[in-house]
Each structure stands twice: as C-alpha cells, then as structure tokens.
C-alpha cells in the first residue's frame, strides 16, 4: 500500500523548503554543496551507528570520476599522471577540468538522451539539441520549457519538442512520461481507480494532468500544435458513483487548478477551426495552425515552476542526478516522489532544492558538488562485517553497470595501444579524438542492454564476447596500434602485465595477479601472442571493465 500516491500529503511535505522536515533550520545557503552532502550523510550514519566504507583509492576514484563525468575510462597516461600528481587539490582540479571538457558534453548529452527518450535512441535532431544545450550549460528549467512548450522558430531549440512529438500519438505517454521524468511521479496507477489496491485513489488527479496534454497534436509538417478547445471527460466505474461523467480541470499534481478564460465561439467558428486543424494534420501544404491564446502546456510549465507548486520539478532532477552518481536516489525509486515514500535524507534534499533553484537550475554545479563529496568517493568494497548496510545510507559505493555507450567507448580506449593518444598537455587534440570515439562506438553500443533497475547482463553479451568474429578482429588484433600488438612488443612478461593492467584497469596489478598471469604466460610461451590475447580478453570481459565501481 505504500506506493499509493497521496497527493494531499505530498503537497504538505513538499511545502517544507527552508524549514526542514524535522523543523530544524537548514544549514547556510553559502556552504559548498559537497560539505552539506557529507554533513547530512554522516549524521544519518551516526544515528544508525554505521561506519561508512573507507574512501576509495586514488586510481579507483579517478576511474569512477572519469566514467561518471567524462563517460569513459582514463587512458593509461591519464591514470598514471593522476596518481603521480602530488597536488593536494588534484581532485578538484580534475573535476573542474573534466566538467569543462568535451568529454563531459558528450556524456551529459548521452545521459540526458537516455533519460528523456529511452524508447527512441539516437534521434539525431534531439541529440543535437541536447548537445547544444549541454555545451551552453543551459539551465534545466530552460530545457524543460524547450521540451514542453517549444519554439519552432528557433533552430537550436526547435528539436527539443521531439520530447512531446514522439509521444503525441498517445495521451497517456505524454502525461505519464512528463510526470515521471520531470516530476518524479508515476500516476499510471491512478488512471484506473478499480485497481484492487488503490480504492481511495481519485481519478481526477490523473485526468487533471491529462487535460494539459489532451489538446496537443502534431501537424503533417511535423509542427507541434494545440487545439484552442477540447475537454477531457471521465467517468467513475464505481457502482455507487453518483457523479456520472465529469469534466477534468487543469489540475496539477499539487492540487492547484488553472481556470481557462471563457471564450464564446459560435458553432460555425468551431467548425471552421476544426477544419483548419484537420487540414493541418492531413495536408503538407496547409497553413500552420494559429497558436491559441490559452495553451495548456504553457500553463503546466508555468504552474510547475511557480514557487508554491515547484517542488516536484526541482526535487525530481536532483533526485535523478543523485541516482545517476550514487546508483540510488535520495528518494527511491525515482518515480515515487511522494509523501508515502520519504527521502532517505529529507533535509539534504531540501537544502539541495533550495540551492538548485537559487542557482538557476545549473546541473553542472550540482554534479560538481556531488562528485566532490566524501559520500561519493567511498570504496565499493564492503569488508567490515557480515551484511552490507542499508543502501539508503550511502555507506558504501554502489557497483554500477556501464551504459552501452560508456562500455563501448571504454572498450575502444582499452583496446588501443597506450601510445596512440594525444599527449596530456595537448587537450585540443583530444577534442577530435573524443568525437571519433563517440561516433566509432555506435556499433558496439548497439550490442548492449541499457541498464535499468535490477539490471542483469544477458548471456547474449557473454556469447558475443566469447565467439564473435568482430570482437576477435577489432579488440584483439595484434597490429602495432592495438593493445595486443603493443604488449607483444614489450621485452618481458612483467612489462606486459604492468602495461595491460594500467591500460585496461587503470591501475597496477596486485602481486597475486602478477604471479597468476606470469604463470599463465610462461606456460603458454610457445604461442606468446595467443597467450597475450587470452589475457587481454580476460581483462576486457571482466567485471572491472563492465561496471563502474
């Protein structure tokens, strides 16, 4: 029963912004984000008498930061340089460098793309829009407007409406996906109040949200448009219902209602308008329909962003960004942002909400704060005792499966000879290489499943790595530019082992690994190249490569 959406309670809880849930005042708005994150996560750990896992080692942290912020593993040279760097501020320097790099732009684009259009991957125009928006560090609020309202006249922003257009054929898709992705609320369960577990659910919440989208349509020329009139009707199926058919109001999740100004139209006018719309939907040469004076989607954006109703929108994106970096939301699952499902750290979410709104919905700022926190940089190993602690404590880092894109780009980096990359002091050369990696990874990315909740690796993937010609030809080639070719040119096994671990795992081998691989290579010395190939294969297919840890 816990998952039932109780809007009235949600509204009360969500109003608490400056004063936290416990009634205490929130820490100063001037504190660095990372410090506040650490303060509240530590508070809860102390309260539960749990000691967090130690901080991850430097090589480990670098790899995690690179995958999370740059969308790829480090090159061998980057890994070596980071660990060797004596600067006390090197983590901050690295994070700032990465956030300003083209790597971040690609990766952030890819992450937003998979969140916003999960069923329509690689929509070229939409991806172009996202790339532009990330490059501009466009605020999340502005992006929300771009996607929900849209501006067909602006070349850069125009493709953003693909978010609505690609769902416009189905009212449920428009309203559900908007509610889930922008407000963190899954209202699907409310459509059918006959649901045996939600007898008290009020349908008007669902249909209220539906009314904001019911007038939306796409013209034959693929323009996003809205009808100037049209109502959503619904009927209770309850036997004791006395209301009969009801007309949905423009009602937001908080219960706030927008009244539409009354416009008198003659039957003739209505008919004419209907005909124009029909023509626009069917004919290529029809004139674009006139924009109505009352736009429900515009009203939805307005109401969702105004301060008294705004807490779903800001909290949702914070929670989703948090989920991406920690592998679990402060509110879990991320589409259950409601009162019956309280956040693990309510004050922290309150503070971050205030911070995000005060700083113009700057996602880069939020990301920076998250990845600089100690909570983020804990080890993913739990050796302290029997059972790992409640994941809501963030006491130990979560092992996260790579997205298809992260895995593909990382494989392309790992398979290369480490001397093939631009020198570290020539970041401008990296720009073109990164774009090549991005484009070159399309094929591999299509082989892997997009991770979701409870992600499992398909056996198809293991079979692909085990038996496909493409893997053999592209990842294990022994030419000079490739990792196998590079390793075979090294003078002895010790050098091979060091270089392979440093290139593929971004760390030196442990002693037990050195000994085991040395034994393997020695016993296979009659065909050294084949032995190196099997060793490289074993690293490329290993969990250290498949997961961020």
């Amino acid at each position: 029963m816990r998952w039932i959406l109780r809007i009235h309670l949600a509204a009360l809880w969500l109003l608490s912004t400056v004063i936290s849930a416990s009634g205490a005042e929130l820490p100063s708005a001037d504190l660095p984000i990372e410090q506040v994150i650490d303060q509240f996560t530590q508070q809860r750990l102390d309260a539960e008498k749990v000691s967090a896992a130690p901080q991850a080692g430097e090589a480990n942290l670098l790899r995690r930061l690179m995958l999370d912020v740059a969308g790829r593993i480090p090159t061998s040279a980057e890994a070596t340089a980071y660990v060797a760097n004596p600067s006390a501020a090197k983590r901050v320097e690295l994070v700032d460098r990465l956030l300003a790099s083209p790597d971040f732009v690609w990766h952030q684009r890819n992450e937003l793309d998979r969140m916003l259009l999960p069923n329509k991957p690689n929509d070229g125009d939409f991806r172009k829009y996202l790339l532009w928006a990330v490059k501009e560090n466009r605020s999340w609020e502005a992006m929300f407007r771009d996607m929900l309202i849209g501006d067909e006249a602006d070349e850069n922003r125009k493709p953003a409406t693909t978010f609505i257009k690609s769902r416009a054929r189905d009212l449920d898709d428009m309203l559900n996906d908007t509610a889930i992705l922008f407000f963190g609320v899954n209202v699907t369960c409310a459509k059918c109040h006959d649901h045996p577990l939600t007898p008290e659910w009020k349908q008007h919440h669902y249909f209220g949200m539906a009314s904001f989208f019911s007038r939306t349509y796409v013209t034959k020329k693929n323009l996003l448009a809205e009808r100037p009139f049209g109502e959503v009707k619904f009927k209770s199926k309850r036997k004791d219902d006395t209301k009969g058919e009801q007309t949905a109001k423009f009602e937001f999740l908080t219960g706030a209602i927008i009244d539409e100004p009354v416009v008198e139209r003659s039957a003739d006018d209505m008919k004419k308008i209907e005909e124009t719309i029909k023509a626009a939907m069917q004919k290529d040469d029809a004139p674009p329909p006139e924009k109505p004076s009352f736009s429900p989607r515009e009203k939805l954006v307005e109401i969702a962003l105004r301060s008294e109703d705004n807490r779903f929108f800001a909290r949702n994106i914070i929670n989703r960004v948090w989920d991406r970096f920690f592998g679990r939301g402060l509110v879990h699952p991320v589409d259950q942002l409601h009162a019956a499902n309280a956040p693990s750290h309510p004050e922290l979410l309150d503070w971050l909400t205030r911070d995000l709104v005060a700083h113009g919905y700057d996602l880069k700022r939020l990301i920076r704060g998250i990845v600089l926190s100690q909570a983020y940089s804990r080890s993913s190993e739990w050796t302290a005792g029997s059972q790992p602690p409640d994941p809501a404590l963030f006491a130990v880092a979560k092992v996260k499966p790579l997205t298809p894109r992260q895995y593909a780009v990382s494989l392309l980096i790992a398979r290369q000879s480490p001397d093939q990359w631009p020198a570290l002091d020539k970041p401008e050369e990296w720009i073109a290489r990164r774009e090549q990696l991005e484009n070159g990874s399309n094929g591999y990315a299509s082989f892997f499943e997009m991770p979701g909740e409870n992600f499992q690796v398909a056996v198809d993937e293991a079979l692909l790595f085990s038996n496909s010609k493409r893997i053999e030809d592209e990842l294990l080639r022994d030419s000079k530019t490739e990792i196998v070719g590079y390793l075979k040119s090294l003078p002895d096994n010790a050098a091979v082992i060091e270089a392979a671990f440093q290139t593929i795992c971004s760390r030196p081998p442990r002693d037990d690994e050195r000994a085991a691989i040395d034994g393997y290579l020695q016993s296979h010395s009659t065909d050294r190249v084949a032995a190196i190939r099997q060793f490289v294969w074993a690293l490329l297919t290993g969990p250290e490569m498949r997961f961020s840890y």
Binding site: V459, L463, F547
Partner: protein
C-alpha cells in the same frame, strides 16, 4: 603440453579462489537439491506456436459452415464428441479428444498488429509506466534454473514479416529470449576457428580467476548476473547440437516434414527434451486481407501436419504430460469476408488452443454467435487465457512480482483461469 596447460589453470584457480570448475558444461544435479521439492514444476515446459499476423478462427477451430460468414470449407467432426473443427485440420481433428482443449470465446479488444501482439505476448494491455515481461520470460523465470546449461527461452522466427522479438521487460535481460532470426542456429554459439577449444576454455577460466577478487566484497545482483552469463557460455555452446536436426534419424525428420515450421517444431521438441522451459515457434504470415481461403489452405496444412507430428512425438517420448503446446497469435480474423475474399483483423471473438500438460483434452470452452461476430458464451480476455496457461503449468497466476514497490501479479489483475479446460 596439453596436460601442463590445464594443470596450470587448475592449480592457479584452486590456489587463488578455492573450488573452481574449468569445464562449465558439467552440471551437478546434487548441488541443486534445494530445488528438489519443486521438481514437478521444474519439469514443465511450454511450446508456443505463434500464428503471426492472426489466423482465422473460422478456418481453424471455430468453423461456421453454411453461414454467410462461413467461407467455402466444411466443418469435420473430431475425436471429441460434438466438437467440430475446420476440414483444413484433419490430423488435429483426430487428436482433439486425446490432447487438446479449444477456447472459442476470446475477446482481446485490440485488432491492431502491434497492440494485439503486446496483449497476447504479455497477457495485458500496454501500460506506459511499466515494461511487462512476455509469457516466455515469465515461464523462463518460473520454470527455469538460474544457472541452466541450456537456454531457458528460445524464440524462433525466420520469416521476414512482422518479426517480433518479444522481451523480458522488468524481469531483466537474464530472461530475454535467445532469438533466432536469420538461421536455425543461434548467433555466436559456435567457437571461432581462430581459437583452439583449449584456449577458449582457458581464457574463460582466466577471466573468472581475475574476476573473483573483484566480486568477492562487492554486493550487487547485476555483478552476479555478469559472472553467471560467462559461466553459462560453455554450456550454451554445448547446446548447439540441439539446434541441429541432422542429429535426428531420417524417419523422425520425415514425420515433421520438410517445411521450415515443421523443422522448427522438431527443434522445439529437442529443446524441451533437453530442459529448455519455453520455446516459441512463430509461423507467418496469416494476415490474409486478400485471398484468405487460399492462404489458410496452405498455412493450415503446415500447422495441421507440424502440430500433430509434434504432439505425437511428445506423447511417444512421455513428454506431453509435462509440455504445454499453445496456439494463438495477436488476434483472429473478421467473420465478414471482404471484396478481395479476405478477412481483416478481428479481436472480438476468436480462438486459441492448449494441448498437453495440465489440459483436459477434448474440452471446448465458450461459444461465438451463429455467424461468429460476437462471443455468445464464456467471454474471456488475454489475462484469463494467461491465468489458464500458468495454472496448467502449476504456477500460481496470483503470484506477484514487485516492480519498485508496485505489485504485479503474474496474470493481469482480475483475471481468472478457465477451469473447464484444466485437469
């Protein structure tokens, strides 16, 4: 040389990581004694003969001879008293009483290929907030073994029309089908010639050795599935032969006949015999908007022959009482005959069959009206059909999965098994 190479790995593996089996194809039943109490359920299998495009109920299991909607074919008596089916299925007619129950009163409400297929694959209408698993994935999860050495969901479809992969939805890709689209062999199941069998085994062992330390102190189901996926590789490679009908005697191949569908039915039998819990064989393309009667004469002959051969073979091997054979597609076809002598999409009153495991042979449930326009008696939906299928397999249709905090029963809310067709 060979011995010393293998010797290295065994020593290294044991030294570093305790017990370790280099040969993944071996399967030790004793390790799974905890499952023994469920042995009955464990033995159950499903073969779904998916009639892609939508077969006509009037030319198969619900004929209307002599009516304006009836078409040119006669109805013939079956081995079940009082039950008549189309004359296009004479071999099945002789087997109804012994093996097969007919459900004639399906109303699944969606006559669009995509929407109808989703309903008949998952037993419920599409829900924007959630990706439901299809029947194959549910059966793979409920009937399969986690570390099975054989695939647990195989989907065969070598025709080009309306190819649908199906999917495991929220159950995750562990239960996704092994999908055969281009040939009768699954992809990447055979070792490349450029690597020796020994090297192939060795590198898997090396991989596992290197992975062990990493996975030791890290708690993650996803991580576990990665290990398992690689552990299943050798076993699945060994199952390559299951897909090779050349392994069958010539007279057995002759029984199933020369058609691709017949051969795939034979592969399906080989798979379920080896323990694969769910096999889908799709036969296309029944979408007869024009020339319905010609189309059905050809396709029904293939269905009739292949399905009877399959049921006979399963019975001869003692597998039929544990194997449920199903026929349905995304919907049926209109009683009305259009100007091109075709029948169009129709979901309001159509038929499915269940044979074998848990099924009352000869049962005929539900009725359509005189001309087949509407269900006259015993209307059931896709959810009810799925509840019936699960019940026949001994799986509780009310059992719930949890997606986040949301409970999802195996068959749709409010659905009920059709008791009349169950033993």
């Amino acid at each position: 040389m060979t011995l010393s190479r293998r010797g290295f790995l065994n020593v290294a593996a044991i030294g570093a990581a305790g017990t370790f089996a280099a040969d993944m194809t071996r399967f030790d039943m004793l390790r799974h004694s905890a499952w023994a109490d469920e042995a009955k359920k464990q033995g159950k299998r499903v073969i779904l003969l998916w009639l892609a495009g939508g077969a006509s109920q009037l030319e198969t299991f619900d004929p209307k001879p002599g009516r304006p909607t009836g078409g040119p074919y006669r109805a013939i008596p079956t081995s079940a008293t009082g039950v008549h089916i189309s004359e296009l299925l004479p071999k099945m007619a002789a087997r109804i009483q012994q093996t097969t129950a007919i459900v004639r009163s399906l109303n699944t409400k969606n006559a669009d290929h995509g929407g109808g297929a989703t309903i008949m694959e998952t037993g419920r209408i599409k829900d924007p907030g959630i990706e439901y698993p299809d029947l194959g994935a549910v059966c793979a999860k409920e009937l399969g073994r986690l570390d099975s050495a054989v695939p647990d969901y195989v989907s065969m479809y070598t025709s080009t029309e309306g190819r649908r992969k199906g999917g495991s939805g929220f159950l995750g890709s562990r239960y996704a089908p092994m999908f055969l689209s281009e040939s009768m062999q699954p992809e990447n199941i055979r070792r490349l010639e450029s690597i020796s069998d020994l090297d192939h085994q060795d590198r898997l062992a090396l991989r596992e050795l290197l992975a062990k330390k990493f996975t030791q102190n890290r708690n993650s189901d996803s991580l576990g599935s990665h290990t398992q996926a690689y552990q299943r590789v050798r076993g699945l490679m060994a199952s390559e032969k299951l897909f090779d009908i050349e392994q069958e005697p010539a007279e057995m191949r002759a029984k199933y006949g020369p058609t691709q569908f017949g051969q795939q039915c034979l592969i399906a039998r080989r798979l379920v015999e080896a323990g694969v819990p769910f096999v889908k064989v799709a036969r296309a393309w029944w979408d007869s908007h024009g020339e319905n009667f010609e189309t059905h004469r050809e396709l029904c002959a293939d269905l009739d022959h292949s399905m009877s051969a399959l049921l006979d073979d399963l019975k001869d091997r003692g597998l039929l009482e544990h194997t449920l054979v199903l026929t349905f597609g995304e919907f049926g076809r209109t009683p009305g005959i259009n100007a091109s002598l075709g029948r169009d999409h129709f979901a309001a009153a159509w038929s499915a069959t269940l044979s074998g495991c848990g099924v009352r042979g000869g049962a005929c449930f539900g009725k359509t009206d005189e001309d087949g326009h509407k269900v006259a008696d015993g209307e059931v939906g896709a959810g009810d059909l799925f509840a019936t299928i699960l019940s026949a397999l001994g799986i509780d249709p009310l059992k719930e999965y949890h997606v986040g905090a949301r409970p999802v029963p195996l068959s749709d809310f409010g659905s009920k098994p059709i008791k009349d067709v169950l033993i």
